[in-house]
């Protein structure tokens, strides 16, 4: 059984949900793991701000409670991306993707900056709207093929999934934070706390990389 991500190294079975570790998904999984460990291990930086027109500058400090909350959210985000990159079930993938969307909002939710809050809010609206396409897409895949299992879908013996449905899933994932909708997210990166903010960008990247493999196989 060869998939777009290579021949599986091993399969982890939970009942009918099969988690497949192909070379591709394994590398993505390891990356998510490494960055999650980094989030746990590192403390936020103190961002410098320059007052325009003068030579005054100040550092932004992150309070302990804010740091704890954001660290928790970033770790949750890391776990959700790990789930999304290895899962062998289309609906689980969509669910994890939606979860990443929430966590991304959560990572910057505690930042006390109006710009960041505004960007996070707009991003959240887009992410929430995108879940319609995500869940709709996966439900339509189940309707046309009768299964949600990615390894079974990859065998190519089932009825073909319409292009529109594939587009649904891809646009849904893009809504969770890829290129055209990224504009809302870029403003979120103003927030101090590099290790956590990186998780926002890493998670959507990993999910985008996974959705390509998923859609190629459908």
């Amino acid at each position: 059984m060869t998939t777009a991500g290579g021949t599986p190294l091993f399969l982890l079975e939970f009942g009918d949900i099969v988690i497949s570790f192909t070379p591709y998904t394994t590398s993505l999984f390891i990356l998510a793991l490494v960055f999650t460990l980094l989030v746990i291990a590192s403390r936020p930086e103190r961002q410098l701000d320059i007052a325009f027109g003068t030579d005054a500058y100040m550092t932004k400090e992150i309070s302990l409670s804010e740091m704890r909350f954001r660290r928790f959210m970033a770790i949750a985000c890391g776990l959700a991306s790990m789930g999304a990159v290895v899962t062998g079930d289309l609906f689980d993938f969509c669910l994890f993707t939606a979860l990443v969307g929430i966590c991304n909002v959560g990572i910057v939710a505690a930042v006390k900056s109006r710009h960041v809050q505004n960007a996070a809010y707009q991003y959240g609206l887009v992410a929430l709207a995108a879940t319609v396409l995500l869940f709709g897409g996966s439900a339509m895949v189940a309707a046309t093929t009768g299964t949600l299992s990615l390894p079974i879908l990859a065998t190519g013996t089932l009825p073909a999934v319409p292009l529109a449905v594939k587009a649904f899933i891809v646009i849904g994932v893009m809504g969770e934070g890829m290129a055209p909708f990224y504009a809302a997210k870029a403003e979120m990166f103003r927030a101090p706390g590099a290790p956590y903010v990186i998780m926002c960008s890493l998670s959507s990247l990993l999910i985008f990389l996974r959705v390509i493999e998923v859609v190629v196989q459908l």
Binding site: L95, A98, V105, A109, V132, A139, A143, L148
Partner: protein, 201 residues
């Protein structure tokens, strides 16, 4: 496996989704957009529900939970963003229901009926009975017992799932355990919602 009306259903849901998205695109006010988003979420459940199988039933719940979680997160951000403070919620006061034996009888009927129905509907009806009881009395009751029951039922529910996963041959016992667990869970939680509401004033 697709029913014969699937395409029609799909068309209706798609129209609903497009209408929701269009409203979202036209609306400029952030709060209204938040409300509209909730509306847009419903077609996504519709897509799943159209499958019309047991699988769909199992998938709707996680979809719903994720949607609600996002909605909560967003409304929290909205509060912070707009600098809105927590405003006290006025208590619900219904003078019609006075303390008397009648509510006790009524609520026990509802609870028994709910237990017979079981599942979510049953939980809701049984909870309605409890809420009714709490509203009728003054809500100064000791809630620890309810919370304890809720916690225990949750454990039962989770344990049942583990039985499903690791000892599938005892599925019937697990099913019963999960059903009872979810029933008690829903009952207690809904009852707590009722009492908390009254408590704040």
């Amino acid at each position: 496996m697709i029913g014969q009306y699937y395409s029609w259903g799909l068309l209706v849901v798609l129209i609903a989704a497009v209408a929701g998205f269009a409203a979202l695109a036209f609306e400029k006010d952030d709060l209204h957009r938040l409300l509209l988003i909730d509306l847009v979420e419903i077609p996504s459940l519709g897509f799943i529900a159209l499958l019309g199988t047991d699988l769909a039933e199992a998938l709707i719940l996680p979809g719903l939970v994720v949607g609600i979680a996002e909605l909560f997160a967003l409304s929290q951000i909205y509060l912070v963003k707009e600098g809105l403070q927590d405003r006290p919620v006025r208590a619900l006061r219904i003078e019609v229901v006075q303390r008397s034996p009648a509510p006790l009888v009524l609520s026990s009927i509802l609870v028994v009926y709910g237990v017979i129905l079981s599942g979510f509907t049953g939980g809701a009806i049984a909870a309605l009975g409890l809420i009714f009881l709490f509203l009728a009395k003054d809500s100064a009751d000791d809630l620890h017992l309810l919370e304890l029951a809720s916690g225990m039922s949750w454990v039962l529910w989770i344990a049942a799932f583990f039985v499903f996963m690791f000892l599938p041959e005892y599925w019937y016992a697990a099913l019963m355990g999960a059903a009872i667990g979810i029933l008690i869970k829903v009952v207690t939680k809904l009852a707590l919602v009722g009492t908390m509401w009254g408590e704040q004033a």
